[in-house]
Each structure stands twice: as structure tokens, then as C-alpha cells.
């Protein structure tokens, strides 16, 4: 189901982006890039009312004809975006949530690496593995 997974820095530039049909990677770049508009809107809307007691999972950002785009924002404003195929209707909200949680955990591990410079693109094999896992796993569902 996940056809594209992206991690975006606080300053809104990509730290990591990978998509399954690699031949049309640029399309997903556009998709994720434009989804940041919605992410920003959601953060600013939530920020006012709830303060720091924010829910990290943002839910469905927007649907396109072929894909659904989900968002998640850490407390340090790092964004995770998962794009799934619209045709995959079996996927439930809870599963998306758990994917984000896994992603977040792995991202935390990357940040714990003393040799990683925060702000650089992620080149961790472990993180790569988690991401591939989510993409493969999702592919097997369909």
C-alpha cells in the first residue's frame, strides 16, 4: 500500500524520500511537496487550540485520484508523509498509525546515531530497511 514514504525536515526540505514505482519518482516528489501545504495548515490550526498536547498523527491530508496522502508530525516538527494507493481500501486508519509509529521509532534511532548530523539526508540502512519493509509488506496485502 505505501507507494511512497517521505521524511521532511522542520524547514520543509526532504530528508528522505522513496517511492515504489521508481520510474515516476518525480510525481511523488510533487505529491509530497504539495502535501506540505495541508500539513502546515493542520499544524497551525491545531497549535492554537491544544498547545503542546498535539496529536502527532494528522490523518488523511488529501486524496487524489490515485493516491491517499497521510501525514504525521513529530514534536520537533519533522514531518512524515506516507502515500498509499487509493485502490487499497482494506487499509485501516490504525494500520497507517502503526506505520507512522514504526517510522518515528526508526527515525529516532537515526537521530541517536552520534555520527549523524541532524539536518542531513538520512542514509541509514536500518531506516531504509524499515521503509522497505513497509512498502513490501503493503505490496503483499494487495
Amino acid at each position: 500500500m505505501a507507494v511512497c514514504i517521505a521524511v521532511i525536515a522542520k524547514e520543509n526540505y526532504p530528508l528522505y524520500i522513496r517511492s515504489v514505482p521508481t520510474q515516476n519518482e518525480l510525481k511523488f516528489h510533487y505529491t509530497v511537496h504539495t502535501s506540505l501545504d495541508v500539513v502546515e495548515e493542520k499544524i497551525s490550526a491545531v497549535g492554537k487550540s491544544l498547545g503542546d498536547q498535539r496529536e502527532l498523527y494528522l490523518g488523511l491530508l488529501y486524496p487524489t485520484e490515485d493516491y491517499k496522502v497521510y501525514g504525521y508530525v513529530t514534536n520537533s516538527k519533522v514531518k512524515f508523509v506516507i502515500v498509499v494507493d487509493s485502490s487499497n481500501t482494506s487499509l485501516r486508519d490504525n494500520e497507517i498509525r502503526s506505520m507512522f509509529r514504526k517510522l518515528h521509532n526508526s527515525f529516532t534511532d537515526v537521530m541517536c546515531n552520534p555520527f549523524h548530523n541532524p539536518g542531513d539526508t538520512i542514509q541509514s540502512k536500518a531506516f531504509d530497511g524499515i521503509v522497505s519493509g513497509m512498502m513490501v509488506q503493503t505490496a503483499s496485502y494487495t
Binding site: A9, E11, Y13, L26, H29, Y30, H33, D37, E40, E41
Partner: protein, 962 residues
């Protein structure tokens, strides 16, 4: 085919549409003057409670008019024609045209007016309600009044229609209102079914709602809309249900935001009958009120809506407005997908995407806005378009830049690594390049392509790098890239893109002149300079802070007219060889002649040193600001201030006025002999020679002025380095007067100078060797007179050939003597400033032992005033040599032979030597005195004896002893 009007807003639903058009020939400016006056009548109040809002258009497609039943504000209800008419003769024709125009909108028109300008006379006198005559465009004071009346008449028709529809008796057959594309669908439908009737009712309700809204009866409108929604929902009439919801929302918006919602359009004039609370943007507490189902009778529309009004403030809350709009859109969407026949023209697509982009921009979705703007741009040049609009495409692409956080100023990218959506940014840049090329502006393409290469280098694959550079070279062959700012017609400025990454420069280092060319300051003047710097000899306070490091003055000088060097460490990040042409220095401060270099850096080269040279043509302080290059046909000026990554130890250096240059050549061969580490001076050259102890060699030095300035002064000093050995006599001696007489030495002239090299060293430390050879007792050292003698008689060196042939044992006896000849010279403007140059020549001499006196003895001679001096002389060389003394015959010594020589000498007394005067004796220590005394004694013995030797095979030079 209808054309969407993207400028519509919710408030437009309450307006009536009036078209104002010219008939016949009307000057455009005059038409718009009148149009403006007409349009100023945008709101007319009728009675106390009602008012009519008018929307004027000077252009309206009749096709759009066909949607008038669907939403009444789309219906043209009024027509005002403006015409000129010069004479009564033309009048019938004009009237005819007016009628023709009315025909166009005849199906929907409530009323019309004709304003005639220029006609006077009988015709104009006739009172007609639908025609007004004015003598000229200037003289028409009551246009507004006329329009006011006209609107009044429209209102009457509107009101009558509203009442007519609203009071349709339930028994009457309600006509089915349709949109244009529905008409054919309903042919042959069963008009008696309940379903059909309900549909008719629902649509009519909606229509009445529209009319109420236009008539200013907001509450009535809300009620009708609500009912329409309920009715239409029941029959799944999605298009009209959507319209009813839209109407409901519009009415609610109008209720909540009486000041208007459209940010761009100027708020309506608060004329005549604005509600009292017009300024209030939002009325809280407005609630949606459910429609009492009882109000809906099965058989039609209740005539009396007052009951509902009483109960309901039927308005939607702001949140609900959004919800209902969404619902309406989804219903419209259902219809749209079914009616895909609505093929959009390319132009409409562009417009649609542009509008989408604008809407996203309005809600703060800049990225989405940029996305659609880009789609619109691509649409401008879609392959299906016969004449692609590359200019429009380019313009739209430029507008997307902020959405992609892309600025076209390379300075914004110089701060560390680039952070952004490189993939999409690169695509956009590629598109800009392509669009500008197709626009026929290669200069722009070059600029964009340079920018792409410079800023996105890290993200380009090797293949892409190759492609980009190839196309860049293609473009630059037609239009070379430069450093000028490109200003686009709309005022956007494209700053130049210097290729600071092709190649990457890691460090810039200004090099000192070679030692022989370095200027020195005359000491006397130096003191004055020092005093100005600081009153403290040492201060822990650092004078310059780090930021100024680049401006720090370097503590050496360059000389006007002499080639100066700057060393850059460069790096080629490209996967192939990089040709850098015309690489030179950018300087300021003095006139500088840069001598550009061309270089070719291998692929992915490591740090590669490049030396850039130039000649300062005037004196003063020079600052190296950067360098210029020409790569792939793009000329770049790379300034160091924009390159924080470049390491430099200062870029400011003083250029002193020009000095002469001296070139030195000698009669002896030069040697690559490395100067002793003890000598701090770097030598411009060194000569080396091998001599036997006591030998003298002439060294001829030729000094040539190879500079452009005259040499005015010349000084020569010498200094012996590495003096572990005790040197007797003057090692180097010369006569300078002759040479000085040639001064000033003009450019190109030369002078010669002879320096004699004399070596006299003490080899007495090597007696052990002698004892081995000659084992007979008395050591010379024991004798009181021995020491001076020994020194005197020390051997003579001979030519170099020996050292190479000689065995190891002999080699170890060689002693080395080194000295530096220092030429100080000056001239020209530099001399005035107190500068001079130094040229130093190293002299390296290997000294071999010549003659040893192994034993000294005296015998009384026949005369009491004389005695015989017996000398045992040993020849340690491999050559046959002869020794002679005053008044004595020559003694021939074969190699390694030892013989006794007897010399008859007059006796003399050392006491006769002059004593050092008391004054000097007091201030010199005893040891020195003793040495001096011995030296003087030695000299005396020498003069008495006059012992000389010479090697027969080198007869050419007769060596004399001291």
C-alpha cells in the same frame, strides 16, 4: 458553449445582470466613460425594505445566458445600449440595430434602454421611455437618473415574476426548468409521475429562492432554498440539488458578511440602503433552523412563506456554509463526470489551472498553487496547440518560483549545502531553460542553465552533468554567458551566476616574491614606520578580529612591474576533464595587469595547485578580490567575499614602486650545493670550488641589469658561515671601486667584478695521520715557535679533480669553507622610498691539505746572525709538487713523500714587533691579545721565509704561501 466566470462570488447571487453595450460606432474611451457612470448605480433601494443590486457587464456571451433558469443571476435581465447618431436620417437604422441587439437576449430581458448621443432636433424631442437622447457625451447630466429609473422598472418585473412563481396554485402544472444540456434528456419523459412532479416543484422552489434573493428578500430566499433542497434530495436531482445548496450558502454568506467576502473587489458603496450593521462582518448566533416538514405540502409550494419566516432565521452557520458548499460541489461533481462531453479548449484549461492556482494561493497553499501554475504553464505549450505560447509559459513558470522556494539569485545558495526539493526545483529550472530557449532568448537559457549547474551540482548525476554541460556549451556557442544582470520585461532581475564550483577553489594564497627579488627597507627609515603602528612593543590585544582576516595586510611587499603570483588550490568536481579558460585575478587598489591562464583539470581531481600571475603597474595597496574564469563559454567573476569556504591568509598586500633587477653569473660553474642549514638566508645561487690549502682562486662575477630601472647603488658584503675552522687571512677579497665607476647601470648593461678566494686553514689537528706516516718523535707542537709556523706552513689546496680520484682516507681530510657574498642594490622609484634588493651568492669551497711540516728544527749557521731552519716537509697529495723558499732552490716532492729542507735565515726577534697600544690592550681580553700576537709573529716569519709550493702538473697557477 458557456464560459465559466471565475470572478464570481457568493454575493453575485443577489444581483441582477445588466449588459451595457455599444451599438454602431462608439469611441471606446467615450463608451467606458458612460459605462462607468452607469455602473456607479450599483444599488437601488425600492421601498423601505427592499433594494436591488445590479451587476453590469459590457460583454456577456449569449450562451451563458441560457443558464439563466438554473441560476437567475446568470440571466441578462437588462440591456443598456449606447450609440452615436449624428442626424435624424441615421436614426431609423440605429433604432433597428438596437432592436437587433435586444433580440440576442430577448428570452430573458425584462427591460432595455438606448442612450443616443449626438442627435438633436425633432426626433430627439419625442418623449420615449426606452430611449434617451443627449447632444454629446459631455452633456448628459441625467444618465444616472435614467439608469435609476431603468433599474426601478426591472425591479417591478422581477417582483412580478417572483410573486407570479411564488403564488402558482398547486393545481397548475409547474413547468420543468432545465439547463441547456438537459433539454434533450427529458424528451418523452412521463410528465405525470410523482417523481417528475416533485422534480418540477423542487426546481421551481429553487428558482423562486433565486428571485427572492435578487429582490432582496433574504429570509424568504433561505426558506425557499431549504425547501428546494429537501424536495430535490428526494428525487436525486443532483445538479439542481447542488444549485439549491449553493443558493442556500450564498444567501447565508450574504447574511453573515454584509460587507462582502470578495477581498479583491472593492466593497460595494455603502449607498442608500445598507443595513445599519453593515460594518459588522459576522453575526454570531445565526443558526440553521430545520424546516418543519409540515410546511412542505405534497401538492406544491405553499403560497405563504410568512409562517416559516416567523419560525426560522433559516440561515446556515459559517461552519455549515462550508459543509454545504462541499456537498454542493460533490453533487456538481456527479453531474460533471456524467457529462464529460464538456470538452475544454486549451485556453480554458489554462484559465482553469490558473484560477485553481490563484485560489490555492488565497488559502495559503503556496506549493499547491505553484503546482497548478506550472500545469497551466505546460498547458500553454501543449503539443495540441498550434502556436505554443512560450512567453506565457515562461512567465507562468517564473511565478511558480516562490512556491518551490527557489530564488534565482545564486547568493542564496552559497550558505552551506543546499536544502530544498532538489528534484522538483531541477525540473522547474529545466523547464525554464527550455521555455526561454523556445522564446528565442538564448541569453536567458544560458543564465538559467548556469544557475542549474551551479546550484544543483550536488544533485546532478554524472550523466546529467554531462548533458547539462553539453547543452550549455551549445547555447554559449551562440550567446556566451557573462556577468551582466538580465532584466526581464516585467522587471524581474536575474543576477549573474558565477561558476564558483567549476572548479571549486579551496584556498587562495598570495605568494611572496622570490628571495632575490624581495624588497628590503633601509633600516634607518624602518624605525619611523614602526612607531606609527603602535606605541607598545608587545600587546596581547590582537589588532584584527577574525572577520577582518581577509582584509589583513600581508607582511611582505610586491614590487611594481614585477610578476606576482597567487596560488589557488582548486578541485574539479566533474566526472570528466574540466577546461578552464582565461583564468585570472580580480584585483582592486592598483592598476594590475592580469596574465590569464588556461588549465585543464582531470576528472574528480584532488586538490590541484594553480598559480595565477599578474603584474602590478602602479604602486599602492592591492587587494585580491577574486578570480575570473571562463568555463563552458560562461564568463564568471568569482568574488572571494561570496565564498566563505575559501581559505585565505589575507588578500591585501602593498605594492612598492619599481626596483631594478640584477642577474648574476660567475666564471665558476654553479653548483646545486644546498646551503648549510645554519644559513638563514636563501641564496640565489651557489658556486663551489675545490682548492688545496693556501691556494688562491679568482672568481669573476658578472652583474647584469635585467630590469627596467637603472641601478644606482651597489654594495657588496661577505659573511663566512660555518666557521668552526679558523681562517687565516681574508677568505674573500675584492675591489669594488672599478665596478662602482660604471654606476648608474642602465637596463641591459653589465659589469664585472673579480673576487679572490684564498683559503688558509689550520690542518694541524691531523698530526695523528702524520705520525702514522712518519714515526719519528718530536712533535711540532712542542716547540715554542711551532704554532705560528705551523699555521703559516699549512698546505695548499689544488683543483677539484683530486677529490673525485682520491681515496676515502684522503677525503676525510677535506675541510669545508662557506661564505655568502651579498649584493645590495637599488635604484629607480623604489630607492626613493627607501627600498633595496639583495642578491646573494653562496661560495662553497672544499679545502684539501697541501703541504705539511712534520718537524721544525734549527741549526746554527756559519754566520752568527743567521741560522738554518730545518723543515721536514710532507706532501699528502697525489701530485708531484715543488716547494721553494726565499733564496733557495726548489725542492721536488713526489706524492706522499717526505723530505727535509734547510733554509738559511737571518735571526730575528719577536720583541721587535709592534706592541698593541695600551688603550686597546685594556679592552681586549688576554686570550685575544695572545692570538693577535701569535698572528703577528706568524706574519713576520712568513715574510722572512716566503715559502711557496706548486704542483707541477697544474703549472698554470703558481701558488704562493704566506
Amino acid at each position: 458553449m458557456s464560459v465559466p466566470d471565475y470572478m464570481q462570488c457568493a454575493e453575485d447571487h443577489q444581483t441582477v445582470l445588466v449588459v451595457v453595450q455599444p451599438v454602431g460606432i462608439v469611441p471606446e474611451d467615450q463608451f467606458f466613460r458612460i459605462y462607468k457612470r452607469i455602473a456607479s448605480v450599483s444599488q437601488v433601494s425600492i421601498r423601505d425594505s427592499q433594494r436591488l443590486l445590479i451587476r453590469y457587464r459590457h460583454h456577456y456571451l449569449p450562451e451563458n445566458n441560457e443558464w439563466g433558469d438554473f441560476q437567475t443571476h446568470r440571466k441578462v435581465v437588462g440591456l443598456i445600449s449606447i450609440t452615436t447618431c449624428a442626424s435624424a436620417k441615421e436614426w431609423p437604422q440605429t433604432a433597428e440595430r438596437f432592436h437587433g441587439q435586444k433580440e440576442v437576449y430577448s428570452s430573458t430581458l425584462y427591460d432595455s434602454r438606448l442612450l443616443v448621443f449626438g442627435l438633436q432636433g425633432d426626433v430627439a424631442e419625442q418623449p420615449r421611455t426606452d430611449v434617451a437622447f443627449y447632444p454629446s457625451f459631455e452633456d448628459c447630466p441625467d444618465v444616472e437618473k435614467r439608469v435609476d429609473d431603468f433599474v426601478g422598472s426591472i425591479f417591478i418585473v422581477l417582483e412580478s415574476k417572483r410573486l407570479d412563481r411564488a403564488t402558482d396554485k398547486s393545481g397548475d402544472k409547474i413547468p420543468l426548468l432545465c439547463v441547456p444540456f438537459e433539454k434533450k434528456d427529458f424528451v418523452g419523459l412521463d410528465t405525470d409521475s410523482r417523481h417528475y412532479k416533485k422534480r418540477c416543484q423542487g426546481r421551481m422552489r429553487k428558482h423562486v429562492g433565486d428571485l427572492c434573493l435578487q429582490a432582496g428578500m433574504l429570509q424568504d430566499a433561505l426558506v425557499h432554498y431549504h425547501m428546494a433542497v429537501e424536495l430535490l434530495r428526494g428525487v436525486n436531482d443532483f445538479l439542481w440539488l447542488g444549485a439549491a445548496l449553493e443558493g442556500l450558502c450564498s444567501a447565508s454568506v450574504i447574511f453573515h458578511y454584509p460587507g462582502g467576502t470578495a477581498g479583491k473587489t472593492v466593497a460595494r458603496k455603502p449607498s442608500i440602503s445598507q443595513p445599519a450593521d453593515a460594518g459588522k462582518r459576522h453575526r454570531p448566533g445565526a443558526q440553521e433552523v430545520l424546516i418543519d416538514p409540515g410546511a412542505l405540502t405534497a401538492n406544491g409550494i405553499s403560497a405563504d412563506t410568512s409562517t416559516e419566516i416567523g419560525r426560522a432565521k433559516n440561515c446556515l452557520s459559517p461552519e455549515d456554509i462550508i459543509e454545504k458548499y462541499k456537498e454542493a460541489i460533490s453533487y456538481y461533481g456527479k453531474v460533471m463526470t456524467r457529462n464529460e462531453s464538456t470538452n475544454l479548449s486549451e485556453e480554458e484549461k489554462i484559465q482553469r489551472y490558473s484560477i485553481l492556482s490563484e485560489l490555492y494561493e488565497l488559502i495559503g497553499f503556496h506549493r499547491k498553487s505553484a503546482f497548478f501554475k506550472r500545469v497551466a504553464a505546460m498547458q500553454c505549450v501543449a503539443p495540441t496547440i498550434p502556436e505554443p505560447g512560450w512567453r506565457a509559459c515562461y512567465k507562468l513558470l517564473l511565478e511558480t518560483l516562490p512556491g518551490y522556494s527557489l530564488s534565482l539569485d545564486p547568493k542564496d545558495f552559497s550558505k552551506g549545502t543546499h536544502r530544498g526539493w532538489a528534484a522538483v526545483q531541477m525540473r522547474l529550472l529545466h523547464e525554464l531553460v527550455y521555455a526561454s530557449r523556445r522564446m528565442g532568448n538564448p541569453g536567458l537559457s544560458v543564465r538559467h542553465l548556469s544557475f542549474l549547474l551551479q546550484t544543483m551540482l550536488d544533485f546532478l548525476s554524472d550523466q546529467e552533468k554531462k548533458e547539462v554541460t553539453q547543452s550549455l556549451e551549445n547555447y554559449t556557442s551562440k550567446c556566451p554567458g557573462g556577468m551582466e544582470v538580465i532584466t526581464l520585461p516585467d522587471g524581474l532581475k536575474l543576477p549573474p551566476v558565477p561558476f564558483t564550483k567549476l572548479p571549486i577553489v579551496r584556498s587562495v594564497k598570495l605568494l611572496n616574491l622570490p628571495v632575490s627579488l624581495r624588497p628590503h627597507k633601509v633600516k634607518g627609515l624602518l624605525g619611523q614606520n614602526m612607531s606609527t603602528a603602535s606605541p607598545f612593543i608587545y600587546s596581547p590585544i590582537i589588532m584584527h578580529n577574525r572577520g577582518e582576516e581577509r582584509c589583513k595586510k600581508i607582511d611582505f611587499q610586491w614590487v611594481q612591474g614585477d610578476v606576482c603570483e597567487v596560488q589557488l588550490m582548486v578541485y574539479n568536481p566533474m566526472p570528466y576533464e574540466l577546461r578552464v579558460e582565461n583564468m585570472g585575478l580580480l584585483t582592486s587598489g592598483v592598476e594590475f595587469e592580469s596574465l590569464p591562464a588556461a588549465l585543464s583539470l582531470p576528472a574528480e581531481s584532488g586538490l590541484y595547485p594553480v598559480t595565477l600571475v599578474g603584474v602590478p603597474r602602479t604602486a599602492g595597496n592591492i587587494t585580491v578580490n577574486g578570480y575570473h574564469t571562463s568555463v563552458f563559454g560562461v564568463n564568471s567573476d568569482c568574488l572571494l567575499e561570496g565564498l566563505p569556504a575559501v581559505k585565505t591568509s589575507g588578500c591585501l598586500v602593498e605594492v612598492i614602486p619599481s626596483l631594478p633587477r640584477l642577474q648574476l653569473s660567475t666564471s665558476l660553474p654553479r653548483s646545486a650545493y644546498t646551503p648549510q642549514p645554519t644559513s638563514k638566508e636563501e641564496l640565489s645561487s651557489t658556486v663551489s670550488v675545490q682548492l688545496f690549502n693556501g691556494e688562491t682562486q679568482q672568481l669573476t662575477i658578472t652583474l647584469e641589469n635585467i630590469g627596467s630601472e637603472d641601478i644606482e647603488t651597489l654594495e657588496l658584503t661577505s659573511k663566512i658561515v660555518s666557521t668552526k675552522e679558523k681562517v687565516f687571512g681574508e677568505f674573500l677579497s675584492w675591489e669594488l671601486e672599478e665596478a662602482l665607476s660604471h654606476l648608474p647601470l642602465k637596463s641591459g648593461q653589465a659589469l664585472t667584478l673579480t673576487v679572490s678566494i684564498k683559503v688558509k686553514l689550520d690542518f694541524s689537528g691531523q698530526e695523528n695521520l702524520l705520525q702514522d706516516l712518519n714515526d719519528d718523535g718530536i712533535s711540532v707542537t712542542g716547540l715554542p715557535i711551532s704554532s705560528p709556523l705551523r699555521q703559516v706552513l699549512k698546505p695548499r689546496p689544488e683543483n677539484k679533480t683530486v677529490s673525485s680520484e682520491s681515496g676515502k682516507a684522503e677525503y676525510s681530510h677535506i675541510k669545508t669553507l662557506e661564505a655568502v657574498l651579498n649584493f645590495k642594490y637599488s635604484g629607480g622609484a623604489g630607492k626613493v622610498e627607501g627600498y633595496y634588493r639583495e642578491l646573494s651568492l653562496g661560495v662553497h669551497v672544499d679545502v684539501e691539505p697541501s703541504v705539511f711540516f712534520t718537524r721544525v728544527n734549527t741549526l746554527p749557521a756559519t754566520s752568527t746572525r743567521q741560522c738554518h731552519l730545518l723543515l721536514d716537509i710532507f706532501n699528502p697529495t697525489e701530485h708531484e709538487l715543488t716547494v721553494s723558499a726565499k733564496n733557495n732552490q726548489e725542492l721536488v716532492l713526489h706524492a706522499s713523500e717526505c723530505q727535509r729542507m734547510a733554509i738559511q735565515v737571518d735571526k730575528f726577534d719577536f720583541e721587535s714587533l709592534p706592541q698593541p697600544d695600551q688603550e686597546t690592550a685594556r679592552f681586549t681580553n688576554p686570550k685575544q691579545l695572545e692570538e693577535e700576537r701569535q698572528h703577528a709573529q706568524g706574519c713576520q716569519i712568513n715574510s722572512k721565509l716566503g715559502i711557496c709550493w706548486s704542483i707541477i702538473s697544474f703549472q698554470t697557477n703558481e701558488n704562493e704561501f704566506h
